[in-house]
Amino acid sequence: MKANKNMSAMLGTCIISASAAALAVPSLAFADDGSSAGIGAIMPNMVEFIPMLVAFIILWIVLAKFGWPAFNRILEQRKSTIADSLKKSEEARVESERVLAEYKQQLNDAKKQSSLIISEAKRAGEAAKADITAQAQREADGMIEKARVAIETEKKSAISELQGSVVDISTAVASKLIDQDLSDDEHRKLIEHYVDEAGSLNAN
């Protein structure tokens, strides 16, 4: 804004200086009226020059008063808009970089956490596997031991039952033989023998 004002001032100064110089040497312009074929060919016609100068100055004043400020305002707005856009895009870039960094950090954290969870799960799984294996081994050992004891018990029971049956059969056979083979006289001898060998009915 300030530069534009300076430029306008310089332009005005130049125009005024040129006008003053032209007014200061009118003699030269009119000295050689008769020699218009020489320098007069390049010198302005004052009758035309002054109105044009006045019109120029008026145009310059109008433009300096109304044109340049509007033009400068548009440029300033455009500049401001571009600066804001650049600033916003920079902020967006910084924000996106920050978010990206944050996401990367979160991703790294998530990876670390997932690795930790996986390793923990693996460790827990290994421990559970070991426990289950040990428990199964203990149960299997217990079942085998119970089965072994049951088999041993059944075996002893069967042997005992068999031996009992043998004893029953043997004594039954002995009973039959004694009952059938002894005569009455032999029975009486046996009775006498037992009476001699028997204890006392008066014993306490």
Partner: protein, 193 residues
């Protein structure tokens, strides 16, 4: 103060003494011993016939009904024994019959000075065996002996004697039973048959 057990024994002794006196007066030692044998048979019969015992103890029957039942069932017994059983049934004392039998044995020992020895054998005794048994038991008990003989093939052989509530089992059947028990115990302990 006498306990219920003592009172029951006293009551049973009264039954036994009354029965003994009546039989002794009626027929002497033989009659007394005959009734003793009948009481023993009745006790064994009652043990194997619970319905009869329950009926005789059932207070829903009148005393007269219980007495009539006893006289009907034991009609073949001695009259004095029938009368005593009838009184016991009327009074609900039929459970005392074992005590009465013990008291009756004591009466025999104290008043007849004899001890009845029950002898069970596989074959009938001959005179020689009776003398051997009588001599041995007399020497053991120090009193006169009356043998009550019984033949039971189930004992297989040998002899079973009992007197004064004591019993000597020298039968072949019991010997075999003991042998069976020992053999089974030995085998169950892991020994060799």
């Amino acid at each position: 103060m006498p306990t219920n057990r003592q009172l029951a024994k006293q009551e049973a002794d009264i039954y036994a003494e009354t029965l003994f006196e009546a039989q002794n007066k009626a027929g002497g030692q033989d009659a007394v011993l005959e009734v003793r044998a009948q009481i023993e048979e009745i006790i064994a019969y009652n043990r194997s016939h619970v319905d009869l015992t329950d009926a005789l103890k059932d207070m829903s029957y009148s005393p007269e009904q219980r007495k009539a039942l006893v006289e009907h069932v034991f009609a073949d017994c001695a009259s004095t024994l029938q009368s005593m059983l009838g009184v016991m049934a009327e009074r609900g004392d039929i459970d005392m019959l074992s005590r009465v039998w013990n008291g009756y044995n004591r009466e025999i020992a104290e008043k007849l000075h004899v001890v009845v020895v029950d002898v069970t054998t596989r074959v009938a005794l001959d005179d020689h065996l009776r003398k051997v048994i009588t001599d041995k038991v007399s020497a053991d008990l120090g009193s006169n002996i009356v043998l009550r003989e019984q033949v039971d093939p189930s004992i297989l052989g040998g002899i079973v004697m009992s007197a004064n509530g004591k019993r000597i089992d020298a039968s072949v059947a019991s010997l075999i039973d003991r042998a069976r028990t020992v053999l089974k115990q030995t085998s169950s302990d892991g020994g060799e048959c």
